[in-house]
């Protein structure tokens, strides 16, 4: 019943631009280039560390140290990556870590022992995420403002709870988790948690409908909406997820430092955003990788480690950190423009 369609007169018009080489290979290759370049930076840092401080740097204990120090901010960065991929931002992560860590280490909470501390840290984190999510998704607030408000309130509440005092943890099972005796096959429990969160984060972002929706909402919220995705609910879940990561990170920080303090998590938001950005996550949303973000965290932690081992002072460390962020973003823009 359909009349034969005459072939398009100019068949070249329908050809895919740059069909040679196949575009999918280009995509794969580009993704690899990004990861490889980060691995290259890490390798260069390891080389520098190995040359300047061979005994102290190339040492199992140092590897354990670097990974442990990366764990807390690493878990936060995994959550942050999801939020940024969705086109949002969460400025409140540091404050949520602070609030969760002090709420979980009050005298009253500590009476409930290990479970009480873990539960409180996670629930406070998720609760703050819930507030962020509701304000942003259903209150139509700009993420920057909503989470900035959360930053201020959570820090204030943390201060109110502690009265500026350091809350020392006296629950032995919590403290023991941060000790050398708790290492399994040489792996600190904190690092295991970090690894598990990373793997789960990677799977969720790359292999689940949740991850797909996150990318869709970040890449083009209008298209996502018209494709039938519940954009608002997805946003709510994303800030919940970030809050959950903050709660877990707060627990790790309690284990690591043996205390809760309202100054905890100072400037985590900037560290996590910076790590995600140098890891290749677009601040405008729609693209990002957990692998890149974790490599970003490891790069920053390794720099700190190398600088400390070489006894360089904090001013130099800060300058280097800034320079690396700029360099990483410039390199990425270059790779993007040569697409």
């Amino acid at each position: 019943m359909t009349q034969p369609v005459s072939p398009p007169r100019d068949s070249s018009t329908d050809k895919v631009p740059q069909a040679q080489p196949p575009a999918w290979r280009g995509l794969l290759f580009r993704a690899d280039v990004r990861t490889l370049s980060l691995l290259g930076v890490l390798a260069a840092l390891i080389l520098i560390g190995g040359i300047t401080k061979p005994d102290e740097f190339l040492d199992t204990r140092n590897l354990q140290l670097v990974l442990t120090q990366a764990s807390v901010i690493g878990v936060v960065t995994v959550g942050m990556t999801f939020v940024i991929v969705s086109g949002g931002i969460d400025l409140s992560v540091g404050a949520i870590v602070a609030l969760a860590s002090v709420w979980a280490t009050t005298v009253a909470t500590q009476e409930y022992g290990f479970a009480g501390i873990l539960f409180t840290a996670v629930v406070v984190g998720v609760g703050c995420g819930l507030v962020n999510g509701v304000l942003i998704a259903y209150g139509a607030m700009v993420p920057f403002i909503a989470t900035l408000a959360m930053l201020a309130s959570a820090r204030g509440l943390a201060l109110q709870i502690t009265d500026g005092k350091t809350q020392i943890v006296t629950v032995p099972s919590v403290l023991d988790l941060g000790e050398r005796d708790a290492y399994v096959l040489g792996i600190p429990p904190l690092v295991m948690v970090f690894a598990v969160v990373t793997v789960i984060g990677w799977l969720v972002l790359n292999r689940t409908t949740f991850g797909r929706r996150t990318v869709a909402v970040g890449g083009n919220p209008e298209a996502a909406r018209l494709a039938g995705i519940d954009v608002r609910r997805q946003r709510l879940y994303l800030y919940l997820l970030s809050g959950l990561c903050c709660g877990i990170a707060a627990f790790l920080l309690i284990v690591l430092s043996g205390s809760g303090q309202n100054t905890n998590g100072n400037l985590y938001e900037l560290d996590a955003i910076a790590a995600a950005i140098i890891g290749g996550t677009l601040l405008t949303g729609g693209r990002g990788t957990i692998t890149g973000s974790v490599l970003g965290v490891l790069i920053f932690t390794t720099i700190t480690n190398i600088f400390a081992l070489n006894n360089l002072q904090s001013d130099v460390q800060q300058i280097a950190k800034g320079a690396i962020i700029v360099a990483a973003v410039l390199v990425q823009r270059r790779t993007a423009s040569t697409t």
Partner: protein, 505 residues
């Protein structure tokens, strides 16, 4: 004494965008003191032409002579320095600045080179506004507080604040009431009397008759008529020039008799304040219903409201006899509606993602279990859907941004095909699609209908609606003015209806 050369003379102007030749050797002469009208259907090249004039686009080839001398309009500032001012349809005013500040934006009267003399700016602005017959506008008010008509006056005052010799007006009357239009024409008359040339763009033929001197008609990027007398050229001839096809569209056959099934989509008394009114229509499985109308006739708004992306003021949408929750895209999608929106890149596609992911985004639950995506099944389903539409390249892993316009549209159609939707809403399905690829897209749409899909089609290209649809609803300013089987209509008739709004005979 030699005759004075035209104020502006463009010849052989060509401008291409990726996949589209927007201007193809256009000539245009504008004389000092005349009102030169530009006519053409949407996509004929009018906007590109005025952007070239304004210095916002650089032509690929062609020369521009200004008062007999070759010039290059490198930037909007260069055009402005020569005395060419443009008043765009979307007004480019800064809402948070005052009227005077907007008028003098970029060339503020200053003392010592940098101190803005606010009082002088206000005084000169007040003088300009008075000349435009709008002395009531306070130069100190914020532009955002003014009505659309007043904003247009401010835009015009800004043009006049330069030493202007040519003013380009892009559909200036679209936002105006009748008496405001009269004032506009008085201003145009004053300007031309003072020797200023006006390039006037409008869809309303009666306006062109009233104030135009000469007419240039654009069609598919070419000037099909130059300098016709505006007052004496018959309307039929102008319309014929605008629509005269030099591209043969190849439309698939339609079924001889309309499908007899019960309508799957019913729209009852649907209205949206200020956009369209009490719309009734139904679409049966296997049927393609077309909506024809100009920009501003409410076409896209109707589709988006049916789809739940906009909330109706009154009325309801029924799918298989069940009313949809108003204003809910998710309810519409669940009921079996799918939209291929007009702005494909902004509203449909995830440009950073692969074809697969773009196709699968609306049916993820079909190949996922507990949120876990079976990527093999996903790729298989996407491949099957894209193959059915012969999307090229035959590899759904490529990024969707590398596809041509036609294939991007097929990716959107594949999304709904995979979802298994019952009603397809198509908004300008061939916009940005190469002429050659259109025939194939038409065939695809017809095949989908033959397979039982109900299709509601919107297009500003009348031949497309007439060629593809079974039934056509003609819209004018948010109202259906005529309904008929497509085979009983022709292009001139439809254009008469949409432009003049003459009642159906």
């Amino acid at each position: 004494m030699a005759p004075e050369p035209p104020l502006l003379s463009m010849s052989g102007t060509t401008k291409s965008f990726p996949g589209v030749r927007a201007l193809d050797g256009v000539d245009l002469d504008v004389l000092a003191g005349e009102v030169h009208c530009l006519l053409g259907q949407n996509g004929a090249g009018k906007s590109t032409l005025i952007k070239v004039l304004a210095g916002a686009h650089q032509p690929d080839t062609g020369t521009i002579r200004w008062r007999g001398e070759d010039v290059t309009l490198r930037s909007p500032i260069a055009a402005m320095r020569l005395g060419i001012a443009t008043i765009y349809q979307e007004l480019d005013l800064v809402e948070h600045l005052s009227v005077a500040e907007n008028v003098h934006l970029g060339h503020e009267p200053t003392a010592a080179g940098f101190v803005v003399r606010g009082k002088a700016a206000k005084e000169s602005t007040a003088a300009l506004l008075k000349r435009l017959g709008h002395a009531e506008i306070d130069p100190g008010r914020l532009v955002g507080e003014l009505s659309a008509a007043q904003q247009q006056i401010v835009s015009m005052a800004r043009a006049l604040s330069h030493d202007v010799r040519l003013i380009v007006m892009d559909e200036p009357s679209a936002a105006l009431d009748p008496d405001e239009v009269d004032n506009l024409f008085r201003i145009v008359g004053d300007l031309t009397a003072a020797g200023v040339a006006v390039v006037y763009i409008s869809h309303r033929l009666e306006e062109i008759r009233r104030i135009g001197d000469r007419v240039t008609v654009l069609k598919d990027g070419r000037a099909v008529a130059n300098g016709l007398p505006a007052k004496s050229t018959p309307t039929r001839e102008v319309v014929a020039l605008m629509t005269g096809r030099n591209v043969e569209y190849v439309f698939p056959d339609r079924p001889d008799s309309p499908p007899a099934a019960e309508p799957v989509l019913k729209v009852q008394g649907l209205s949206r304040q200020g956009e369209f009114e009490t719309l009734d229509l139904d679409v049966r499985p296997g049927e393609i219903v077309g909506l024809a109308g100009l920009v501003g006739s409410g076409r896209s708004e109707i589709l988006e409201t049916v789809y739940g992306a906009r909330k109706p003021t009154t009325g309801q949408v029924l799918v298989d006899g069940r009313p949809l929750k108003p204003g809910s895209v998710r309810a519409a999608v669940r009921a079996g509606l799918g939209l291929a929106p007009e702005e494909r890149k902004a509203q449909a596609l995830l440009m950073l993602e692969s074809v697969t992911r773009n196709v699968s985004v609306s049916s993820m639950s079909r190949f996922s279990r507990g949120g876990w995506i079976d990527r093999g099944a996903e790729l298989g389903a996407a491949r099957a859907a894209t193959r059915e539409l012969s999307l090229r390249p035959d590899n759904p892993s490529v990024p969707v941004r590398t596809l041509s316009g036609g294939n991007q549209q097929k990716a959107v159609l594949a999304r709904w095909l995979l979802r298994g939707c019952k009603v397809l809403l198509l908004d300008e399905p061939t916009r940005g699609v190469d002429v050659g690829a259109r025939a194939e897209l038409y065939a695809v749409i017809r095949r989908l209908a033959d397979e039982g899909l109900a299709v509601l089609l919107v297009s500003s290209e009348v031949p497309e609606v007439l060629g593809l649809a079974d039934r056509v609803l003609v819209l004018r300013e948010g109202r259906v003015v005529h309904t008929a089987p497509a085979r009983e209509l022709d292009e001139h008739r439809v254009l008469d209806l949409v432009m003049e709004g003459s009642p159906a005979s």
